[in-house]
Symmetry: C2
Subunit: 340 residues, 2 copies
């Protein structure tokens, strides 16, 4: 029997059975890091004050491997990923729930490190963790830690984002360099020995909400290009808005380390996941002002106008540096599992 009081030992099946060890895990570990008053670990649900406005609700499970990588870990990712899904929906993130699936044998100090990072990320993002759940599965039926976070946010009244607002002539702005997260995780997992890679994992709401406040009409559509990368996100937009989109390869910001690493590995950085970037469809008239606004924020100092919307029927293209054009499709068959 492990002793989780001193946060040594390993996770056992009994930590998930709802009895004494579950209680000790909650009191000796979780409640040391999660301190919101709405979090009543022995209650069945968190009771939250009324929010009289449009609500946004989103869920994401995180199975990233390895748990720790340059620039983040599964705990920071689980907070920022869900915060960003709310932010690109125009919502102020308020509350998170955290559901853990732990593998028997997980060292408790590893769990503590993840929980500490998760709590710190939530605190930094200003979201309260108000409910949680822990299950334990036998050795060989998990992979250390899987985390589900579900986020509840409040949408400002005047926000109207969506592909219904996208028109030919609009432009696409990307908030910064692409591919960092996907390649950093892949390199950490496979020990490729590539240098200078670091996940861009970050919470974007302190950037996005002021953007929407300052350019309420001009910003028409937002998305964070996570799994599937920029190319998949743009192709999805083309399909749902029933327009064509042309990206300019030269305009897309990408760090040299990512460009070089992707080339060595035979990967296309346009399909690598991002965890601290967004794409926006913006009215062309406001594009320069939006770019200037973004470049003043540390999370988007490399923002760039990367493409434009054309009349069309759901196709996406990349105009290459050499002037050729190639069509972009949804990610297909690239085996980069578990990057988030």
């Amino acid at each position: 029997m492990t002793d989780c009081g001193s946060i040594t030992g390993t996770v056992s099946l009994a930590h998930g059975d709802g009895g004494e060890l579950t209680h000790r895990l909650i009191s000796d570990l979780f409640l040391r890091y999660f301190r919101d008053e709405a979090l009543q670990p022995l209650n069945d649900a968190a009771l939250l004050p009324a929010q009289c406005g449009l609500l946004a609700l989103t869920t994401d499970s995180f199975v990233v491997k390895p748990l720790f990588f340059p620039g983040g870990n599964i705990g920071t990712l689980a907070v920022n990923g869900t915060v960003n899904d709310l932010a690109v929906s125009g919502a102020r993130p308020l509350y998170l729930t955290v559901g853990l699936i732990l593998e028997e044998g997980l060292p408790l100090p590893v769990l503590e490190e993840v929980i500490a990072a998760l709590a710190a990320a939530a605190s930094e993002a200003g979201v309260a963790i108000v409910a949680g759940d822990t299950k334990v599965v036998e050795r060989g039926h998990g992979d250390q830690i899987y985390i589900n976070t579900t986020g509840l946010g409040l949408v400002a009244g005047n926000i109207d984002l969506g592909c219904h607002r996208v028109r030919p002539g609009d432009v696409i702005i990307c908030s910064g360099a692409v591919g960092d997260h996907g390649l950093a995780v892949l390199a950490a997992r496979e020990n490729f020995g590539l240098e200078g890679l670091k996940s861009d994992c970050a919470a974007l709401h302190t950037l996005i909400l002021p953007l929407l406040e300052n350019f309420p009409g001009a910003v028409k559509w937002l998305r964070d290009p996570t799994r599937g990368g920029l190319a998949t996100t743009i192709k999805e937009l083309a399909l749902s808005a029933q327009v064509d989109i042309i990206l300019s390869e030269e305009a897309i910001p990408v760090h040299d380390s990512v460009r070089g690493g992707a080339e060595i590995l035979g990967l296309d950085y346009l399909y690598l996941a991002n965890e601290g970037k967004f794409c926006a469809v913006v009215d062309r008239v406001a594009a320069e002002d939006v770019l200037a606004f973004l470049r003043r924020h540390p999370l988007s100092c490399e923002a760039a106008l990367v493409g434009e919307i054309k009349e069309g029927s759901g196709r996406a293209f990349l105009r290459t540096a050499l002037g050729a054009t190639r069509e972009l499709y949804l990610l297909s068959g690239q085996q980069l599992p578990r990057i988030c």
Copy 2:
């Protein structure tokens, strides 16, 4: 490469990469069963109408093994478990999110059966599935399907439930026979060949909300005794309310199949999980009326007054049929993992 269009084949890692196969899984499977208009699979969050009242938020992950058992499956459990957590908090369940962690190699027809059951349970319970997420992990790092559901509900304005309202002299009512779920799952998993076992998995809000409406002051505290069973729930109550509690063994409803099966396996049915029962602390004056009310509902026709609250300091006892008294503690060391 599998073909999920015809819902044959198996889950591959590419079903979780956010690209083409993820899209096909969503359109060919999930959207055939999940049809709420707030569910916009290509959006990052569901936008929900304002709910001007106290909100309840709860999360639960389900790792039950086997996936299918007499009386339910992981899909019905994932809906009813979260619905019940909202209901015992006095909230009307409104919305659910569904996060799936699938193991590579899972047969797609099995996934479809679970999704169909989950959708049917949600529809029956009147809750809308408004957001989802799917991740895939490699063979040997999951166990077919894990499901997280997070539930959002609205609390009626005049509801005040909690251990702060529990007083010596109050009584404990259990809504029906205990132990069915835990033993049914265990028997199905281990092929014990025990007869007549069936999980009590059910959504309780259509029972609990009218109960609270009819007895707003008299019902003081509610809990669904899932993991850890009735005994752990009662011990938790004693600890948080700082009272002593005495249960009467003779009064606790238990089906003969469960009593007999538990005896054969050397298990205490008081510690077996329930998924369609609740315990209530009720003002003694109203107890008979509450019991009569409950017994008219099919989900609680075996409701019984099973114990009483005494002055004390957090201890729980069972008065046995023979007149002896034994102390009850939190579940400890019984290895019944993955029953929910």
